[in-house]
Assembly symmetry: C2
Homo-oligomer: 113 residues x 2
Amino acid sequence: MARAATTSDTFNAIAEPQRRDILTLLRSGERSVTDLARELGISQPSASKHLRVLREVGLVQAREEGKQRLYGLDARGLREVHEWVGGFEQFWAGSFDRLDAYVRELKKTRAED
Amino acid sequence: MARAATTSDTFNAIAEPQRRDILTLLRSGERSVTDLARELGISQPSASKHLRVLREVGLVQAREEGKQRLYGLDARGLREVHEWVGGFEQFWAGSFDRLDAYVRELKKTRAED
DNA sequence: TTGACGCATTCCGTTATCGGAATATGATTG
DNA sequence: CAATCATATTCCGATAACGGAATGCGTCAA
């Protein structure tokens, strides 16, 4: 068994830096495959493959425009990621070093005196 | 070239469901490796390997306690993920169907009349 | 010291990923 | 229809990921 298929798994889809870059670019509007490839400095087939993954998890959608295919952002699938990660917010707000925790404990104890 | 190393990449570290489950479990406190394996229904070596990945990206930390090793959460690394994903919030707030966008465009145009 | 326990590591086989090159498909234009 | 442009797919090779089984290693208890 290898890693879970990236298809139908948003977390895996955004685990790839190039795919994150594609999504970021698409925030400013639709792009053709060639444009994306050029802006990212990758080959056309590579861009096409990444777009396929993003399409399969529903993070982008394609629109036919003549012989071009314009890809647009559909970020709704990112909500799940945002919420999962957000569940940890209390754990990074403030510092949670072991030392810091110890210091906080100390202060708390003293305050109770 | 294969996939980027999961090591030193938080996005990749949380792309694996079992590892997400481990992090979730650790929100309620430290656990030993064996406890985690049992609670997740996976083998001890498997748990140990996932913990290694999480340790290497800094999402967990280990503390020696007798012959056990207690793993604790250090979620600070998740902040980066939360912020990146959060940058897309405006795109999933409200619906962004093509139809909806069209309707919004229409309303906007009329408002300008 | 020996044995048991807890954990990490290694080795192995299977599967998936990624980039590149070549090629296929599909639409537009002449 | 032929040529061209834009995109998708396929094939390939190298690499990495994952789980399982076996093993190594340190710690504690008797």
